[in-house]
């Protein structure tokens, strides 16, 4: 068969013809575009369309009572199109902006440096200088006609009504290179949340940028909107947020913690809303706003401050919970049937099997769980833990028993971040059996070697938020809602993680017993200092947390009222010694403020005394600047 007689073989000509036709059509289109359409040359000369970004207003932030905390103020950025800067009077320009030639050249070099500004092009508007205030804007606007290639871009800057809670609100700053690379939404000069709520709720707060298409003439002058704005996209404002935080309570807490290091957390147990979250020391949020030069000076000072005011100790502090850990122990022992409410253990000023260590303080003996909670008996919980870990009829081995214990601790909110809607929350530490097996290099260790964890010491570490959350768990008799600072997002529901109930897996009756023990602690036990009856029946547990950084930390965990609780609280004062010394009076004042809205005359001496107290742990200043104090 000859190829030409094969009918299929003829198809090669059809295919070739199709190819030639396509190419001819394309040449025709090129002819039309390049030779018959002179307007394209004009468009190119001016690049007729100028896309200008329209910035949305960042969402405002309110406190739980609708008090405005954070809002926006207009500022202006100077944008430069380098190609259009002809016959530019640099001197006059510098005078108008009140900068010297040196600064002008530095800003210019920054703008053109592709490492700092990956999107640099001399044909499109580039950020030259940011955040002019209204007066500076007025001066420049008047003379703008003299400076071809200079444009003004409106933006907003954060403003604060209160000088409190800088750590929770966080700050916004110019987006960095990594963020720009990771998310194409951001361009150089954009502002983005860097910490606190501003970071964790960035996508709610930022809104959506709009765009405006302007038409320019051959000289680059803007002639107006292209087709009357038919192609523009309006910016969408960010969502306003309402916090669970009561700004008055927060401000008062910060005042009480003045010159101290530590944290106060108050939670509404019914919802998990955080009513106040004080971390001391803190900073005034206004410090981290303004022109980039002021911002970086203040930021450097805060970073270099030995007391580390940029760490939110309420969610990232590292503390042994001390005796506030005991209610959790009692609950687990009851639930696992290791003890009953009637089980008695004796105490002779210390844990007898280990020769009186850990030591205890004078109280009646032998005693049951309710009394052990009220008097904060160390021996009782050491006996309990020992009984649990040595119970071979219930658990196969010490490691099996320990992992059961650990699972309860995790269910009670320890060991992992709770998931609060703030960045950099820490989970801190609850060891598992593997940890000890590795540590002792054998799996045949016994309860006595780790006995201090029964009283919240040893390897156990928790954040003040976890301690407060435990208070909420007991207040609710067995469940909690994940603590959160943002109560409402305008136009969007709260994420379901904050409305889901987390159950402890421990019977309600055991919680009732624990509540009774904590009520007794207030009426006749270790924290009588917080007895607010008849105003409200408070339940509480003190803690005195030993640590390697000097004096013990003073801790308090509690809730009130006993029935139908409205608030759970945790207070921690670093190196504040006994729980009753500092944490209890601070908690008392916070509860007075919460329930009464003011401090009664009878407590004003206490308020003055607390505010004037300075407890500045020298761990932060010792060894400066040679060695950093080790954590453990």
């Amino acid at each position: 068969m000859n190829s030409n007689s094969n009918p299929l073989s003829r198809r090669r000509y059809v295919i070739a013809a199709v190819i030639v036709i396509i190419i001819l059509v394309y040449v025709g289109q090129l002819f039309k575009l390049q030779l018959m359409s002179p307007q394209y040359r004009d468009y190119a000369d001016s690049n007729a369309f100028l896309r200008r970004t329209l910035y949305p207003a960042r969402g405002a932030i309110y406190d739980r009572n609708g008090k405005l905390l954070v809002y926006n103020r207009p500022t202006y950025d100077v944008m430069m199109v380098v190609r259009e800067m002809k016959q530019f009077d640099t001197l006059d320009f510098c005078r108008t902006l009140d900068i010297d030639m040196e600064r002008f050249h530095a800003l210019n070099a920054d703008m053109r440096d592709r490492r700092k500004n990956p999107g640099y092009s001399s044909y499109t508007p580039q950020l030259f200088m940011s955040q002019l205030n209204v007066e500076e804007y007025g001066l420049l606007q008047e003379k703008l006609y003299k400076f071809p290639g200079i444009y003004i871009q409106g933006r907003t800057e954060r403003q604060y009504n209160y000088s409190n809670m800088g750590l929770i609100l966080g700050y916004v700053a110019e987006v960095d290179k990594n963020k720009m690379a990771a998310d194409p939404y951001y361009m150089r000069g954009d502002y983005v949340g860097k910490s606190g709520i501003e970071l964790s709720h960035e996508e709610d707060l930022r809104g959506e940028k709009g765009v405006e298409i302007l038409l320019r003439d051959a000289h680059g002058r803007v002639q107006g909107k292209y087709e009357d704005g038919a192609h523009d996209k309006a910016p969408v404002s960010g969502k306003d947020l309402t916090l669970g935080i009561d700004i008055d309570l927060q401000a008062y807490g910060e005042q009480l913690m003045h010159n101290k290091v530590g944290a106060i957390v108050m939670i509404d147990p019914k919802t998990g809303e955080i009513l106040c979250m004080v971390s001391a020391p803190t900073y005034d949020p206004v410090l981290l706003t303004g022109k980039s030069s002021d911002f970086s000076d203040n930021y450097r000072q805060l970073v270099n401050n030995p007391f580390k005011p940029l760490i939110n100790r309420a969610i990232a502090g590292t503390y042994p919970p001390g005796s506030t850990f005991k209610p959790a122990q009692g609950l687990v022992f009851l639930q696992e049937g290791i003890i009953t409410p009637q089980t008695l253990y004796s105490c002779y000023g210390g844990y007898p099997p280990l020769g009186g260590r850990p030591a205890c303080h004078p109280h009646g003996s032998p005693l049951a769980l309710q009394a052990a909670l009220a008097t904060s008996c160390n021996s009782y919980f050491c006996y309990g833990l020992n009984a649990m870990l040595n119970n071979r009829s219930k658990y196969e081995s010490v490691t099996a028993a320990f992992d059961v214990w650990r699972d309860y601790m995790v269910k009670l909110g320890y060991g992992y971040p709770l998931g609060v809607d703030l960045p950099s929350e820490k989970g801190r530490f609850i060891p598992n059996s593997k940890f000890y097996t590795n540590f002792f290099k054998t799996d045949r260790w016994n309860a006595h070697r780790i006995i201090s964890i029964a009283i919240g010491q040893g390897e156990i570490l928790a954040t003040p938020l976890q301690i407060a959350n435990m208070g909420a768990m007991i207040a609710n008799r067995g469940y909690y809602y994940t603590p959160h600072v943002v109560k409402e997002r305008k136009g969007a529901a709260l994420e379901s993680t904050y409305t889901t109930r987390h159950d402890s897996g421990i019977n309600r009756e055991y919680f009732e017993l624990t509540v009774e023990g904590m009520a007794d602690a207030v009426t006749m036990g270790t924290c009588r200092g917080i007895n607010l009856s008849p105003l409200v029946e408070v339940c509480g547990k003190t803690g005195t947390s030993q640590n390697p950084h000097g004096d013990d930390h003073s801790v308090f965990m509690g809730f009130a009222p006993k029935d139908d609780p409205q608030v759970a609280i945790a207070v921690l004062v670093e190196n504040g010694r006994f729980g009753a010394t500092n944490a209890v009076p601070i908690a008392r004042l916070m509860l007075q403020k919460f329930f009464r809205g003011e401090i009664p005359e009878s407590d004003q001496w206490l308020e003055t005394s607390i505010i004037n107290r300075a407890i500045l742990p020298h761990v932060y200043t010792r060894n400066l600047p040679v060695n950093k104090p080790s954590n453990r």
């Binding site: 068969m1 000859n2 190829s3 094969n6 299929l8 073989s9 198809r11 090669r12 295919i15 070739a16 190819i19 030639v20 396509i22 190419i23 059509v25 394309y26 040449v27 289109q29 090129l30 002819f31 575009l33 390049q34 030779l35 359409s37 307007q39 394209y40 040359r41 468009y43 190119a44 000369d45 690049n47 007729a48 369309f49 896309r51 380098v82 053109r112 592709r114 999107g119 092009s121 001399s122 044909y123 499109t124 194409p184 765009v211 298409i213 292209y226 192609h231 523009d232 996209k233």
Partner: protein
């Protein structure tokens, strides 16, 4: 079906020189244009600076040359023997990529191994071509057997779906270009005709869907007329009865004439209804001839007519309800219905400005202002043709187009001179892929195709695509080199 190559005299065992020259020319032109596209007047960098796109492209070019050299050393039998194994490995790689790939700009097609980033979908092009060639090469192969059609469809469609799942719709469309191979090897022309008819219906239907002519939109009206004309043409072409075909056309013409005359007496005529009556008449006419002459072909044309009308009616629904908004927008921009300057239209608009401003002779090498950063997006990858159009004008752009045309025609010629079915079908596969890339990429840049992100062969920046095209081409040159000659 024994096929003998045309007895072209060529040097035995030599690589085809014209193709080699095209290849080297394109790669070097591409490199210069990548340099131009990312050239920065303020911080001029050298052509060989490895921190720039041009410098990196030089690395890709160098490795491609090594790759080409190595491919020419491998025995032809290797490709034939392992074609299916390649295919298997290719499919596995696509699945692995789908599972492990991170999202890069919305696409999940990159396999990252240490410092190397590969796009398996690029290499799938030569793998599918090889697998198809192997299937065609089997001695007893008949394309129109149902079993074979299913096998061929599976070979093409499996990677199409996998790559669509990676959000690389453009590359998936490239695989569909292998239909051209099937056409050359005996797929009835009717299939291709129906494909083209469907595209025409779709474009007309959507483009003119917004104005009504009574019961039908203008788009529907025009497509109905087209369906009638196509039906008449098919009667003439397949049944060879010119009279039957002309009677049909005259009847329909008469119907419209009557309607027109009536409308002169200020009677309001619903032209949509008239068109539907004409279509119904055509359908009945075909059925009548089928029953009278018992000729199946009439029935097929009747089914074509019904199918076409159903397609037209559903096209609009599919367009507005199945396609995603950005895809709708791209098509609307191409059809000139929308400008969408803040989205898809902005890119094409800027691209047209860049090319249009080039004029007859262009602005000169490195003098293009539009393509230098930011105005035209992807100026050194998918929109590289802009730089050619802007800096070298109508003359330069046309020259490149014509060169590409001769390149593809040369590939067809090489394919036709193969003495084995394997060689010929692989050659057609190679030509189809290049043709599709050139057609879609340049069509997009000059604004007559929707925005589909596929590279311009040898010109666009990128290692994976350059390697992919080099492998595709040089396997073919190797096969061509060792073909048996009469």
């Amino acid at each position: 079906m024994i096929y003998q190559g045309n007895n072209e005299v060529s040097e035995k065992g030599k690589v085809d020189k014209p193709t080699l020259i095209f290849y080297i020319l394109f790669v070097l032109l591409g490199w210069l244009n990548i340099y131009a596209a990312s050239f920065d007047l303020e911080n001029a960098t050298g052509l060989f600076d490895l921190s720039t796109r041009a410098g990196m492209q030089l690395v890709w070019i160098g490795t491609s040359f090594l790759l080409a050299f190595a491919l020419l050393k491998i025995d032809t039998g290797f490709y034939e023997t392992y074609a299916f194994l390649f295919y298997l490995v290719g499919i596995v790689l696509l699945i692995v990529t789908l599972i492990v790939a991170q999202d890069i700009n919305g696409s999940r097609s990159w396999l990252i191994i240490g410092p190397v980033r590969l796009q398996p979908a690029e290499f799938m092009k030569f793998i599918i071509a090889l697998a198809l060639a192997k299937v065609f090469n089997s001695y007893t192969f008949r394309l129109m057997e149902r079993k074979n059609l299913l096998l061929i469809s599976a070979i093409i469609l499996l990677p199409v779906f996998l790559v669509i799942a990676q959000s690389e719709t453009g590359t998936a469309l490239v695989y569909l270009s292998f239909i051209l191979v099937l056409y050359r090897e005996g797929l009835p022309g009717g299939f291709l005709f129906m494909g083209i008819a469907a595209i025409i219906y779709f474009i007309l239907g959507i483009r003119f869907s917004d104005t009504q002519m009574g019961a039908l939109s203008v788009g529907e009206f025009v497509t109905v007329i087209l369906i009638i004309i196509f039906s008449a043409a098919m009667i003439w072409n397949y049944i060879k009865r010119l009279n039957t075909s002309l009677i049909l056309l005259f009847s329909v013409g008469a119907l419209f004439l009557v309607a027109f005359v009536v409308s002169l007496f200020s009677v309001k005529i619903d032209w949509g209804i008239v068109a539907i009556i004409a279509l119904a008449f055509t359908a009945l006419y075909l059925l009548f001839y089928f029953i009278r002459y018992r000729k199946r072909t009439y029935l097929y044309i009747f089914l074509f007519l019904i199918g076409s009308f159903a397609f037209v009616e559903s096209a609009e629904y599919v367009f507005y309800n199945v396609l995603q908004p950005h895809q709708q927008m791209r098509i609307k921009v191409t059809l000139g219905m929308e400008q969408d300057l803040s989205g898809a239209g902005y890119h094409v608009g800027q691209s047209k400005i860049a090319i249009g401003s080039g004029g007859l002779t262009g602005k000169g090498f490195l003098n293009g202002t539009q393509t230098k950063l930011k105005y035209v997006p992807e100026q050194d990858t998918d929109f590289i043709f802009c730089t050619i159009g802007e800096e070298h004008g109508f003359i330069g752009a046309t020259l490149v187009l014509i060169l590409m045309m001769f390149f593809v025609l040369r590939l067809l010629r090489l394919a036709e001179r193969q003495t084995t079915m394997f060689g010929r079908t692989y050659g057609y596969g190679v030509a189809s892929v290049f043709l599709f890339h050139i057609m879609v990429n340049i069509g997009m840049v000059i604004g007559i195709m929707p925005v589909i992100g596929i590279p311009l062969p040898f010109f666009s920046y990128g290692g994976s695509s350059l390697w992919g095209f080099t492998i595709l081409l040089f396997i073919f040159l190797r096969i061509d080199k060792s073909r048996k000659r009469n």
